[in-house]
């Protein structure tokens, strides 16, 4: 039947179907969500801190008073003073400047890793759910094995084998992080592909790729967005944890986790070395958690 339909007819039908359902309902859902999010004070406070952190990360070169590698061997491990607002580390480097550059690593990993996770997880989950049958079985089996592996354990294993470095962190988080999002996308797609509007679109002759990307996926977006907002702090935590044990970011590039890891050994003598980066990690994680909670409540009030 699809063969006998003129090509232009198919397109028009698809357009009509697309215009009739997902877009209209979609906009109102999103607009509603944004309104609910704006009303949530805790989430907005988290959002403001996140924006500030992003600005600090982007303008680190301008904001930092000293380069993060600049050593001053005359003034090692100094507590906060007028010259060095957050003190100096074991090599006489300015803690304040290193903290500012540390934001760059955290934000880059948090946001960048999620891009990779989405690019791997969503297509796999969508295809698995949409195609069903043997492809689905093979993919779910694989996902189940990956899921059984304690995640942090696997990331540490991969990192210690690949060696430290920002690129390797992306690889390690990307390799492990897509599993959760793939599972979620698959469950959504499974439910949505049975809906009448998908049947309608298919009856109108919409092709496979267009059906999946234009009709099914937009309706599966809510849980994906929620999962991404929670994935960001998880990636930031992973980087901090990896750098803490020394398999994350390569020195001399500063990372908060690495600063806590090195500083905690001298906590008795030089408390400032690990306390300031600890506070930075705590604030960042809390902000993302508050914001994520807000996004979840705003988009899907039932999930609370």
């Amino acid at each position: 039947m699809a063969l006998s339909t003129p090509a232009s007819g198919t397109d028009a039908g698809a357009l009509a179907a697309a215009a009739a359902r997902p877009t209209v309902r979609g906009t109102s859902l999103w607009r509603d969500g944004v309104r609910r999010l704006l009303r949530n004070r805790l989430a907005m406070a988290g959002g403001v801190v996140i924006v500030l952190l992003c600005l600090i990360a982007i303008f680190a070169d301008v904001l930092a008073p000293l380069p993060y590698t600049k050593t001053n061997f005359g003034r090692l491990n100094e507590p906060p003073s007028h010259d060095y607002p957050l003190g100096t580390d074991a090599l006489g480097r300015d803690m304040f400047s290193r903290m500012i550059y540390g934001a760059r690593v955290s934000m880059l990993v948090g946001l960048g890793a999620q891009v990779i996770v989405v690019l791997i997880g969503v297509p796999i989950g969508a295809l698995s759910g949409f195609l069903g049958g043997r492809v689905d079985l093979a993919l779910t089996r694989f996902v189940d094995v990956m899921y059984a592996f304690p995640r942090l354990l696997f990331v540490i294993l991969v990192m210690s084998m690949l060696g430290a470095g920002l690129l390797n962190i992306f690889i390690a988080i990307g390799l492990t992080g897509w599993v959760g999002i793939a599972r979620q996308t698959r469950a959504q797609v499974l439910a949505i592909k049975e809906k009448e509007f998908v049947d309608a679109a298919r009856a109108l002759g919409v092709g496979f790729g267009r059906l999946l990307t234009r009709h099914v996926l937009p309706n599966a977006l809510t849980p994906i967005v929620v999962s991404v907002t929670f994935g960001i702090p998880e990636a930031i935590f992973t980087e901090a944890a990896l750098s803490f044990i020394g398999v994350g970011i390569n020195p001399p590039t500063p990372s908060w986790g690495q600063m806590v890891g090195e500083g905690q050994q001298y906590i008795r003598s030089y408390w400032h070395l690990c306390v300031f980066p600890s506070i930075a990690i705590a604030i960042t994680m809390l902000s993302f958690t508050f914001f994520g909670d807000g996004v979840r409540d705003a988009l899907d009030p039932k999930m609370k």
């Binding site: 094995v145 059984a148 592996f149 304690p150 995640r151 942090l152 354990l153 540490i156 294993l157 991969v158 210690s160 084998m161 690949l162 060696g163 702090p233 935590f237 901090a240 944890a241 803490f244 044990i245 020394g246 398999v247 806590v260 890891g261 905690q264 906590i267 008795r268 408390w271 690990c274 306390v275 600890s278 990690i281 705590a282 994680m285 809390l286 993302f288 958690t289 508050f290 609370k304």
Partner: protein, 308 residues
Amino acid sequence: MLQYIASRVLWLVPTIGAMALVTFLVMHATPGSPLDPVAEGANPLSPEAQKNLAAIYGLDKPLPQQFLIFLGKAVRGDFGKSFVYKTRTVMEILVETFPISLLLGSMALALAIAGGLALGILAAVYQNRMWDYVSVSLATVGVAIPNFVLAVFFIILFSFVIPLFPTGGWDSPRNWVLPTVTLALAPMGIIARFTRASMLEVIRADYTLTARAKGLGERPVIFKHALKNAFIPVVTLLGPMFAAVGTGSFFVESIFRVPGMGRFFVLSMTGRDYPMIMAVVLTYGAFLAVMNLVVDLLYGALDPRIRY
């Protein structure tokens, strides 16, 4: 039921086997070798010496054969000698350190369950009042903040500002307090959040209303009628809880200088100590798989609606 248990127990074998295979592949597929350490300052070895060492440790054989040899020995509890601690077998190290990690993990989990349930119930019973806010904020802090960051704050607060507990070590029960609390906070937060949500739902259910209507006091309503039902979904969380406590313990053990297994986890990986890596990953993995199974069975036992 028996058949279900039997099939689940049998499934453990391929699951753990798959974990061993994945770990083995990751170890060998990545560049570098234990004979030729990439670490700075490592002694360069002559090719002959490398060959001899490879023969001693069986690293000269083809990979599939190495994997099969490992499996055959591991089944009999022999993980070989550690590459790094050359005088001791991996099994000796595990026997010495695993009980310590297990003690720490069990104490943390017990605290997490008791504290999480208490906070969750308080929050639900006093919804939108002070206790609710206290427990929700405590739960959020526990979930959001990494345990090594919490550890730093705890040491500053409870070892320096108020000198109540030592900063580390494992000799007396006084040393156990801070690591246990640090490790327990994250799972406690998750349990509290879940218990709260689950309790709120149950408190509004018809049978709770019936219990109240027949004149029962607040206490029996909450503990006998509501909690029993609210507890069921919380049990599903216990599986991931074990994982959280297990992986969390590397960090907590290293900060508080606990002589447990966690320390070897990172050391063996950065040192490319193949036998040690396999043993540690498999011990954690097998422990988790067994615990997940126990949790699933417990779930069925608690909820008579579930049939296998």
